[in-house]
């Protein structure tokens, strides 16, 4: 993450919003001054040490700080953790995601973790225990014990334990370790030193040694990185919950059984929210939305299942070049993860009708060869640029399907690998009505697929898309090239911004320039089919919005302006940076507007904060006052949801 002035200001505002002014001021001081000890802070902030300590403690509790203590040194160096500060915005979204995916109790636990920062498991258990006891007392006190409805989501410490286990297995929660508060640079330095001392005492010489050094480094960094996941590994050694559920005969949930099966967690261990994995899950959701937008709901549901399987073991959206470039390789190519059709089929809800959302056509109109073409290697990034081009030559990896003729039948009797449990006897009845008799005589009949084939059709639609949603990487094996699909999604988001800012004509010009590269103004009217005057106006408008740029190329050494070429071009990276900056500032403005509103309604708000008014605002406040309070709450909600929506865009452009 690039820490620009805007980002720094935004983060300070967020921290101010969440944790008050003191931590926020210390945070922005750390950003302006860089690494500082408490002495430096004392001096630059002109505050007492105890106050600064207090602020630092808050920041550390919420993981907004890195610190580093050299052996033997008296004072630690503190550094701001900008990523985590920004992620605070995403808390609401993460909670929503956890609730839909793992249920309300998980959300409750997650919310408490977000609210209290890193927590010892024992403390969490104690806190819950208190609430449960209180609830039990209320239940006993209530007149009708049977009808008493508890508003507690987590009803026993056993359930709490199992919820935490689930979240740990999903990597959404990880452990706080000794290295958690070391900044990435410090960790790298430490590991470098370690590797040097251990293996390359005499220094690194020669190409071979250099490669070896890099590999050792990557290996060690991976170890450090996976340390917080030790709890997950321990749980997996016991057999993951999914496996156990299967052994128990496939019962969906049976709270009691699960509670007893999960090992009790060490109460001394400290846990925290793992934003990296949360981002992966959020990315899945966004991708599903993207697919739904392009191909409809059923197809996107299939896509969601595919992504869920595929990202189970993906811990982060963007790979670290230093760590992930080396290792986990087979013959020089990184090992590829994929999902099979059968796996997806097994996880689809039986109530889903897969025939919905698929166009119907006849056998004659389909080219099986083109549809089921297998691409074992990801296509080059280049193809994305050519996407908009119509006449682009077939790239080399597409050549092999040149001989495709139309008489390839779409054979309905494609035999999926034997599926366990599902449709055990599907080869013998049902489907055959189509397969056996109809196939030979009429190609003009509409194809009727059985369920596995319907699923395949949805996957093939995704694989055929220009947006690289899915790659058919082997027979019945599917994978996703996240880099490619995210690139296309990023472009589509930027296009949205361009279209909304400068209209459809602006979008047309931007896309032309992107597809054709740099163009002289004279060449544009014909391609864009626009009038010259309108075109010039639009280009200028877009230039000031930062979506297109102009380059002056002198025709002669004297660089006469009249004789120079003016080439227009559109640079995606520049546009992206610009849009990002606008987004940060928009979020900042939202917070500032909220602050202004608070100031305006401060009298109402101060009244509502009183303990006797709190919770009973409607009865306690005068009508007029209450209306104002309601309106303020509504505005607050709108502003916060707006921030979240802008963050959606930021996430796509920057994090996913």
């Amino acid at each position: 993450m690039n820490v620009t002035k805007t980002v720094a200001e935004l983060c300070a505002l967020i921290i101010d919003e969440m944790y008050g002014e003191l931590p926020s001021r210390i945070f922005s001081m750390l950003l302006t001054r860089g690494r500082s000890t408490i002495l430096d802070l004392e001096q630059s902030m002109e505050m007492t040490r105890s106050k600064i300590r207090h602020g630092l403690a808050v920041l550390q509790q919420y993981n907004l700080l890195y610190w580093h203590l050299d052996p033997g040194a008296q004072h630690a160096f503190y550094e701001a953790n900008v990523e985590n500060a920004y992620y605070l915005i995403r808390a609401g979204k993460i909670l929503e995601m956890v609730e839909t995916s793992y249920g309300p109790p998980a959300k409750d636990v997650m919310q408490n973790l977000l609210l209290s920062g890193q927590t010892r498991i024992g403390d969490l258990v104690v806190a819950y225990q208190e609430r449960i006891e209180q609830d039990n007392k209320q239940k006993a006190a209530s007149p009708d014990e049977e009808s008493y409805k508890s508003n507690l989501l987590v009803k026993s410490t056993g359930q709490l334990n199992s919820v935490i286990c689930r979240l740990v297995e999903a990597e959404l929660i990880d452990l706080v370790t000794a290295d958690t508060f070391e900044s990435p640079d410090d960790i790298l330095k430490k590991v470098e030193k370690e590797v040097n001392d251990k293996h390359f005492y005499g220094g690194v010489r020669g190409t071979k040694a250099k490669i070896e050094y890099q590999e050792k480094l990557a290996e060690r960094l991976r170890e450090v990185r996976s340390e917080p996941k030790s709890l997950k590994r321990k749980l997996e050694q016991n057999g993951s919950s999914a496996k156990r559920r299967k052994l128990l005969g496939g019962g969906m949930t049976n709270g009691l059984v699960e509670d007893e099966m999960d090992p009790a967690l060490d109460p001394q261990q400290v846990i925290r929210v793992n934003y990296e994995k949360c981002t992966v899950d959020l990315r899945n959701r966004r991708l599903v939305q993207y697919a739904s937008d392009l191909f409809g709901d059923t197809t996107s549901y299939v896509y969601a299942q595919l992504l869920r399987h595929l990202t189970k073991d993906i811990s982060r959206c963007r790979l670290d070049p230093l760590v992930d470039h080396y290792g986990e390789k087979e013959d020089g190519v990184p090992a590829q993860k994929f999902v099979t059709t059968a796996e997806i089929l097994d996880s689809l809800k039986t109530a889903i009708d897969l025939s919905v959302g698929l166009g119907k056509t006849t056998r004659k109109m389909l080219s099986k060869k083109a549809a089921t073409a297998i691409h074992p290697r990801p296509p080059m990034m280049k193809s994305l640029i050519q996407e908009a081009e119509v006449q682009g030559d077939a790239s080399s990896d597409e050549e092999d399907d040149a001989e495709t003729t139309d008489d390839e039948d779409y054979d309905g009797d494609y035999k999926p690998p034997p599926l366990k449990g599902v449709n055990g006897n599907h080869g013998t009845n049902g489907v055959n009505g189509v397969n056996g008799s109809a196939r030979a005589d009429d190609k003009d009949q509409e194809i009727v697929w059985d369920r596995p084939n319907q699923l395949r059709q949805h996957l093939l639609i995704l694989a055929e898309s220009n947006q690289h949603l899915v790659r058919h990487c082997g027979i019945d094996e599917w994978t996703v090239d996240f880099e490619l699909v995210m690139a296309s999604m990023r472009v589509s988001e930027l296009d949205t911004v361009i279209e909304q800012t400068t209209g459809p004509k602006g979008l047309r010009l931007a896309r032309i320039l992107r597809a054709r590269g740099k163009l002289d103004e004279k060449a544009l009217p014909t391609i864009a089919m626009m009038q010259k005057a309108e075109l010039q106006r639009k280009l200028l408008e877009m230039q000031s919005a930062g979506f297109v740029h102009v380059q002056e190329v002198p025709r002669e050494p004297k660089a006469d302006v009249k004789k120079s070429f003016f080439l227009w071009y559109s640079d995606l990276d520049k546009t992206r940076d610009r849009v990002l900056d606008t987004s940060y500032r928009t979020m900042m403005h939202c917070i500032q507007v909220l602050e202004a509103l608070r100031h305006k309604d401060r009298d109402v708000l101060s009244t509502t904060r009183r303990s006797d008014v709190k919770g009973k605002e409607e009865e306690m406040l005068r009508q007029e006052y209450f209306q104002r309070y309601k309106r303020f709450l509504q505005s607050e909600k709108m502003l916060f949801s707006q921030i979240m929506r802008v963050d959606d865009l930021v996430a796509i452009l920057r994090d996913f």
């Binding site: 995601m97 839909t100 995916s101 793992y102 249920g103 109790p105 689930r166 949930t253 939305q289 937008d293 191909f295 409809g296 709901d297 996107s300 549901y301 969601a304 869920r308 109530a351 889903i352 009708d353 959302g357 698929l358 166009g359 119907k360 109109m365 080219s367 083109a370 908009a388 119509v390 006449q391 040149a402 495709t404 055929e464 949205t496 911004v497 279209e499 909304q500 459809p504 979008l507 896309r511 032309i512 014909t526 391609i527 864009a528 089919m529 009038q531 606008t582 987004s583 500032r585 403005h589 500032q592 507007v593 009298d603 406040l621 005068r622 309106r631 505005s635 707006q642 963050d647 865009l649």
Partner: protein
């Protein structure tokens, strides 16, 4: 001797000219050996050939040009054209006419003629006047350089390059024509490249065929108890059992809605490998048969230009199936199923004017919906500046607090009163 020689040249001249006409069009170049090979000049006498050619050139029947291989070559000119030349009063006018003649149907700029013939503006004017009077030339305008005064031979029509091709009417880009055609082409691609699901097709039986070219909907097979993904997601899901279910489709109302109308009328994506996506050729043919472009014929290249614009607009995408390069509409499930002509009528009657002419409403995102995304003074806006977020009128409007701001004074008064009152009445 002299006279005999002249008569001989005269005869040879006519014979040579008549033979040359037989050997090709007036753009063909004849080299010296070509002319000798015609076997008209006795003994391949070069001297004689020279005289004959000179005579023909004087009559403007032959034009000397630089040949393909760098040598001298000639092409002929028809007798009528030559007559135009010879009827002109002087050499200068002739040169001017020649320049215009050579430019063909592209036309030539007045300034270019002046430079080439090397004459002054006044002389030029006289020449032009003579030529225009005789009806040999006409002035024209080119879309490439609309401010330049250009001339063309009166009997020629300006080329596509000068008129801008079929998209221009009277030198102006014909926006409404293009827009209409874009709509028609888009509609065609949409209909051909997606499956049109007729409403309520679940029970089987005859289905409405929307329009020609669309793959027809036949009885759907599975009408049983299965439900669509949309309905499912609104079900109560057991925690931890189905992580990662789609959010985009979750809506509590959809279950009830979907029960009453099982299959809404909509477009669906075609299965992969579909060979029916329309190609440029198909589209051209369709436009041709439709006959909406009565006075201009659109070639495949014109249509390609149009289709590319649709791609750049983000309405359609190219899709390659095998060797076939077809096109389909983006976001088929979001497309309106109302045919284009009905849509156009509705628009005329003022219905649905907020909807785009073609395709779906452009997508929006968080940034473009916030006031800041569309703010004209965004770059100036800063806390403490002349324009600042805390005083932003756009935000107040967006939050629906606009009226409140206007009566700010009134509110302030109430505040004082209510503040004391609130305290007094607060204890229960």
């Amino acid at each position: 001797m002299e006279e005999g020689e002249a008569a001989k040249v005269d005869i040879l001249k006519n014979t040579l000219y008549d033979t040359v006409i037989q050997h090709g069009s007036n753009t063909r170049l004849f080299t010296q050996s070509d002319l000798l090979d015609l076997d008209i000049i006795p003994h391949r006498n070069l001297q004689l050939l020279l005289q004959v050619i000179q005579a023909l050139t004087n009559d403007k029947l032959l034009v000397g040009v630089t040949g393909g291989q760098g040598g001298l070559a000639w092409k002929y000119r028809s007798r009528e054209d030559a007559k135009k030349y010879t009827s002109l009063p002087d050499e200068t006018t002739m040169l001017v006419y020649q320049a215009i003649d050579e430019a063909g149907n592209d036309g030539i700029w007045k300034r270019t003629i002046e430079n080439r013939v090397n004459i002054s503006d006044a002389v030029m004017k006289v020449c032009i006047k003579i030529l225009e009077q005789r009806g040999y030339i006409a002035s024209m305008r080119s879309v490439e350089q609309p401010n330049r005064k250009m001339y063309i031979r009166a009997d020629l029509r300006p080329s596509h390059r000068a008129t801008g091709g079929p998209w221009f009417t009277d030198g102006q880009l014909d926006g409404s024509f293009i827009e209409t055609l874009e709509g028609v082409v888009f509609e065609f691609i949409k209909g051909r490249g997606a499956y049109h699901q007729a409403p309520g097709a679940g029970s089987g039986g005859a289905t409405r065929i929307p329009k020609r070219g669309v793959v027809t909907a036949a009885p759907t097979v599975t009408a049983g108890t299965k439900r669509s993904a949309k309905e499912i997601t609104s079900d109560d899901v057991t925690p931890a059992a189905t992580p990662g279910r789609p959010v985009a489709v979750a809506s509590p109302a959809s279950a009830a809605a979907a029960k009453s109308a099982r299959k809404p009328e909509m477009f669906l994506p075609m299965p992969a490998g579909y060979k029916g996506y329309p190609t440029i050729h198909d589209i051209t043919e369709f436009i041709h048969q439709l006959g909406i472009t009565s006075n201009t014929t659109l070639g495949e290249n014109d249509i390609r230009q149009l289709v590319e614009v649709l791609i750049f607009d983000g309405l359609i995408e190219p899709i390659k199936v095998g060797k076939r390069r077809g096109f389909r509409a983006l976001r088929p499930t979001k497309q309106s199923t109302i045919p284009y002509n009905i849509r156009a009528k509705e628009m005329q009657n003022g219905i649905g004017l907020h909807l785009p002419h073609t395709g779906v409403l452009p997508p929006t995102n968080g940034l473009t919906e916030a006031p800041c995304g569309r703010c004209p003074v965004f770059d100036l806006c800063e806390e403490g500046g002349t324009v600042s977020p805390s005083t932003c009128v756009y935000f107040m409007e967006w939050l629906g607090l606009e009226e409140k701001k206007k009566e700010g004074d009134g509110v302030a008064e109430v505040k004082v009163e209510a503040g004391s009152d609130g305290k007094g009445s607060a204890p229960p």
